[in-house]
Amino acid sequence: MELWYGLITGIGFGVLLQRAEVIRFDRQIGALLLKDMTIVKFMLSTILVGMVGVYLLVDLGLAKLSLKPLILGGNVLGGLIFGVGWALLGYCPGTAGAALGEGRVDALAGMAGMLLGAAVFAEAYPALKASVLTWGDYGKVTLPGLLGVWHWAVIAAFVAGGVLLLRFIERKGL
């Protein structure tokens, strides 16, 4: 059953990504060149709605958080390396399959590259685990936990900040 939920959820997400055109190379690179903020509008909307919804579920005892640890070495270096590759590829791991789905066959070369990248990482993992992945390991921390404030205060700040950012983007016509 869990596998069916995965497939159905993926189909729904794929429809939304395709119809909002956020999977296109031109839009992803457009965002990185600060010329087309379509994917930022989509991602920020998803994050703000998801933030409120998930924390409501958690507070009602209906769901659990699933946090990844903050490891500065991995998050910062890995994040930057990902960004470099992302700008060359113009698709990300979640959207490459969707780009292929709407006929962008260059995504296939990217997906093949991603398999290679995963295989290389698996080879390097023991060495990285003993080095980079020990630098700045703070465990599973959240922003409200770090700041010592109520999570709804942080969420309210994010919603307000997000709306202001989106208004700024709209005013600039991006």
Partner: protein, 181 residues
């Protein structure tokens, strides 16, 4: 049936908000947050297992992320199928090997586009695994849970991407300017 013209794209705010609701529903129903890059690890493990299963089963990273089909694997497959269905139904399916913006900068050479996509994919996935997530796992799922790792990684994704995109495609969006004539 006469050919229909392509449908207009959906509003990104509405589609993004619906994606947020879908994620909340997924967390409620199956306890699963969106993510994608681990699937490529599992797939790589499956491919390598065909060659040498014994070696794969002894590697620490493939013990951690076993080469099997799980919720996320089908989620990633589903994204492709959903996109295919939506593209066909909206008449926006279009076979294209070289994206427009890439062609403006580098020309219509397919080999170059495929090479850069392959290299970019390999670099991006290595980075995503080092960061322990991609724009889905960290960018969406991590930051909406207010995880510090999500925010730090998301900033890293865009910082690396902004610099590389500027180098590759130029500050004017087409490249060329400032690089000789």
């Amino acid at each position: 049936m006469e050919p229909k013209s392509p449908s207009r794209p959906w509003n990104p705010y509405i589609a993004g908000a619906l994606a947020g609701l879908l994620l909340v529903l997924s967390v409620y129903v199956s306890g699963k947050y969106f993510g994608a890059s681990t699937t490529y690890v599992r797939a790589a493990g499956m491919v390598e297992s065909v060659v040498d299963a014994e070696r794969v089963s002894a590697m620490a990273y493939f013990v951690k992320e076993a080469p099997k089909i799980d919720w996320q694997f089908l989620f990633v497959v589903g994204i492709g199928l959903g996109s295919l269905a939506a593209a066909l139904l909206s008449n926006t399916f279009r076979v294209q090997a070289v994206p427009d913006r890439f062609a403006e900068r580098f020309g219509q050479a397919r080999a170059l586009r495929f090479l850069l996509a392959f290299i970019g994919g390999a670099v991006a996935m290595f980075g995503a695994r080092l960061a322990d997530g991609c724009p889905s796992g960290h960018g969406l799922s991590g930051s909406l849970q207010l995880a510090v790792s999500g925010f730090v990684s998301l900033i890293g994704f865009f910082a690396g991407g902004l610099v590389m995109a500027r180098l590759a495609y130029g500050a004017d969006g087409k490249g060329g300017r400032g690089q000789g004539r």
